[in-house]
């Protein structure tokens, strides 16, 4: 049967050569290479649950009366969008669990993209020839954030409506074209009726299609360029060592899909997320406190709260305050992210191809810069909860804000400097792992610097060599292609 099917396709498409190559393709087994797969599988869960939700969601701000199991709103006239989400949550069997899995999957999707980005950054996996995939990956992050926000805005509840109101004001703040941009995006002055329907098309068609397209290219490029790998005996710039796709890696990867789905389903069942029935329907004159966006926009929200009160006025024109934290900052952030591989190539004078990964300590400047940047965004992210922190600590909101304003100035350089010292000390100590490093290496790092790196150079692979690194021994790397040695 299988033989016949394979033959049928092979005689028509000539597939067998590709299938042969695919089935024996080798994937490295290091755990950190699967972080991207978490994102991939969260996305598949998003597609599956999202498809279910589209059958019930009604993307309209026309009004109708909700009649259903949620008592306080039974018989109340609300927008169709809000009514259909209420019905999904209370009156459609399995509707609520699907909604909650979908929302948790969105949070984990973007979270795992960020962790994946960090892994790629700190190991130097973006270096030539992988600049293309770095760019695609950053674009995927932008699209994922955008789709998260558009989905969050659909239920037309009080919290998401407030978010849309801020988004409209941010669009307004863009110099020169802001008013037109806001009016064309929203269909008129806020709150225009068109926005929910438009966001729906964006959320379920345009952005997912773009994500699927870019994701396909992302994976195809990984396939074509093959995975990077860490420096270990038998691994060189010229080979890939790991498991074959069929059956071992496929089983593990499909297993990971089920595992990620399982985590998301348990969360969707046990932990309530976005209870829009408690937030109530959106009315433009109502507001709730505290009001935060989903986590992936927390850094922008925090920046909006931290930036001091100022506007720029030029020749009778105005660049209002929200432009700086909410348009300029994300613009600069993503531009620098996209340009990073080329910036590093320029400043580190390294335009060579690399397939063996750096350990973070091998490139202390990059690692320190990465830690600095992460700290900067983390402080902003936490500052987005300044009102909740004030409430929990019983401190003044402006005291808390002041602390964050100070932290955002001193923490990033401090963490960067500390990271740099730590990486230097780690190299000098020659420890295989951070936990194995003696504490003394950190305190007398300065004296150990030159001494230690000389002693341990060979062991720690600190050199920047990239061709034929390390012996292909241990019975692993027999010169013949695809030689297999059973696991020890």
């Amino acid at each position: 049967m299988l033989r016949q099917t394979a033959g049928w396709f092979d005689t028509r498409l000539g597939t067998s050569a590709f299938v042969q190559k695919a089935l024996t393709k080798v994937f490295p087994d290091h755990w950190s290479f699967m972080i991207g797969e978490i994102a991939l599988y969260s996305f598949i869960v998003l597609l599956l649950t999202g498809t279910f939700l589209t059958f019930f969601f009604d993307a309209s701000t026309s009004h109708s009366v909700y009649r259903g199991a949620y008592e306080p709103l039974n018989g109340v006239e609300v927008s169709d969008a809000y009514r259909s989400v209420l019905e999904l949550s209370f009156d459609v069997r399995a509707g609520l669990v699907m909604r909650q899995i979908h929302h948790w999957a969105a949070l984990v999707f973007i979270g795992s993209i960020v962790v994946h980005l960090c892994r790629v950054f700190f190991t130097g996996a973006f270096r030539r020839p992988r600049e293309i995939n770095w760019i695609i990956g950053v674009l995927l992050l932008i699209l994922a954030i955008f789709n998260g926000f558009s989905g969050y805005s659909l239920p037309d509840d009080l919290l998401s409506g407030t978010g849309l109101r801020i988004a409209y004001s941010i669009a307004l703040s863009v110099p020169l074209v802001g008013t037109w941009m806001a009016f064309l995006l929203f269909g008129g002055e806020f709150p225009a009726d068109e926005i929910i329907g438009r966001l729906f098309v964006v959320h379920i068609m345009i952005v997912p299609a773009l994500i699927i397209g870019l994701l396909t290219v992302h994976l195809a490029v990984v396939w074509r360029q093959k995975h990077t790998q860490f420096r270990e005996p038998g691994r060189t710039e010229g080979n890939v060592v790991g498991s074959r796709l069929w059956p071992s890696y496929a089983a593990k990867s499909v297993g990971l899909f089920f595992a990620v789905s399982a985590v998301l389903c348990v969360m969707g069942g046990l932990a309530q997320i976005n209870p829009v029935w408690l937030y109530g329907p959106f009315e433009p004159q109502q507001v709730t406190s505290p009001a935060q966006p989903d986590w992936y926009l927390g850094w922008v929200e925090g920046a909006l709260r931290l930036v001091p009160a100022f506007d720029v006025r030029l020749f009778g024109y105005e660049i209002p305050n929200p432009f700086f934290p909410a348009v300029l900052l994300p613009g600069v952030t993503f531009t620098l992210l996209l340009a990073w591989p080329f910036l590093e190539q320029h400043f580190a004078h390294d335009k060579e191809a690399h397939h063996l990964l750096d350990r973070p300590r091998d490139h202390p400047v990059r690692t320190a810069l990465g830690a600095t940047t992460l700290t900067f965004y983390t402080v902003m992210f936490v500052a987005a909860s300044n009102d909740l922190i004030a409430k929990w600590l019983g401190a003044s909101i402006f005291g808390i804000t002041l602390v964050f304003r100070i932290l955002i100035l001193i923490m990033p350089p401090l963490v960067g400097w500390g990271t740099y010292r730590l990486m230097k000390a780690l190299t000098a100590s020659g420890a295989g792992h951070l936990s194995e490093m003696p504490l003394a290496a950190l305190t007398n790092g300065a004296s150990a610097d030159g001494h230690g790196s000389r002693v341990h150079e060979g062991k720690a692979h600190t050199g920047d060599g990239h061709a034929g690194d390390g012996p292909a021994g241990n019975g692993l790397g027999a010169p013949a292609e695809d030689a297999h040695a059973p696991r020890g």
């Binding site: 306080p72 932990a271 309530q272 109502q286 507001v287 989903d294 003044s396």
Partner: protein
């Protein structure tokens, strides 16, 4: 070595001093309060309201409720029966030290004592409203939701858990919080609306009819036992705790899983 010892000795001195100050502070506070507030119960009787008032309240509010430098009068504005009942039944009064902020806490008196105190204070002639009669069953749930969202949610949150208020612009100001309404009784809710305690605006009988007050109270009692059909409520504060769970549980579990599936460097 000598140097280290010297430093340690210095630290011990500082710690001792700090401890002494802390202990002294406690002693000072208790010294301040004991003459004015005895914890002994007062026997039931026609004089109880007066006795309690003179013992616990008069030092700050004066014997005739006209106020002193330590505390406001109990007559002007919305002061009167409802205000007194609200402050006593929510444990916001009495406070030991006039500089203390008033906080939601367990009441210091039993309901009968509070009733006597309220009767005694109302006799000062405060113009504020009387203790309201609330019948939440007579309210309309949907109307209550609409009015709550329109008038209460901005400060107390749509879920009733409360939120931070404008304490500022001085960063060292004490905090101001719109309290959680989750344990508020129907009468306390109605009282707060009518008298506007602390920094809360007044939502008086001119603005809300009894029916509307009953409706708000009815919706609030629903919020106090909300329909958490989705599972663990995560504090009812929205995306902040959701994001924390998304990272710690969601992304965290996924990372543990890939760590279990994959290998480490040097491990096959």
């Amino acid at each position: 070595m000598r140097h280290v010892q010297g430093r340690a000795g210095w630290a011990v001195k500082v710690l001792t001093a700090l401890g002494a100050v802390a202990l002294g502070g406690c002693a000072y506070t208790s010294n301040l309060t004991s003459p004015y507030r005895s914890q002994e119960p007062v026997a039931d009787g026609p004089e109880r309201g007066r006795v309690l008032y003179l013992r616990d309240c008069a030092w700050c509010h004066a014997t005739d409720g006209s106020g002193t430098g330590r505390g406001p009068d109990l007559i002007s504005g919305t002061n009167g029966a409802a205000m007194t009942d609200f402050m006593l039944s929510t444990g916001r009064m009495p406070i030991n030290d006039p500089s203390e902020p008033t906080r939601l806490s367990p009441p210091s008196y039993n309901p009968a004592e509070i009733e006597d105190l309220v009767a005694y204070v109302s006799a000062f002639g405060g113009e504020g409203p009387p203790v309201p009669v609330v019948d939440s069953e007579a309210g309309d749930l949907a109307l209550g939701l609409e009015l709550y969202q329109e008038n209460c949610a901005a400060c107390h949150s749509t879920t009733g858990v409360g939120g931070a208020l404008a304490a500022g612009p001085d960063p060292f100001d004490e905090t101001l919080i719109a309290p959680s309404l989750i344990r508020s009784t129907p009468v306390q809710t109605a009282e707060a609306m009518k008298v506007g305690p602390g920094t809360m605006p007044v939502f008086g009988s001119e603005t809300f009819s009894d029916m509307e007050v009953n409706s708000i109270v009815r919706y609030l009692s629903h919020l106090q036992r909300p329909d958490d059909r989705g599972g663990l409520p995560l504090g009812h504060v929205g995306p902040v705790t959701e994001g924390a769970i998304g990272w710690l549980v969601g992304v965290g579990a996924a990372l543990v899983i890939v760590r279990l599936i994959g290998t480490r460097v040097g491990e096959e």
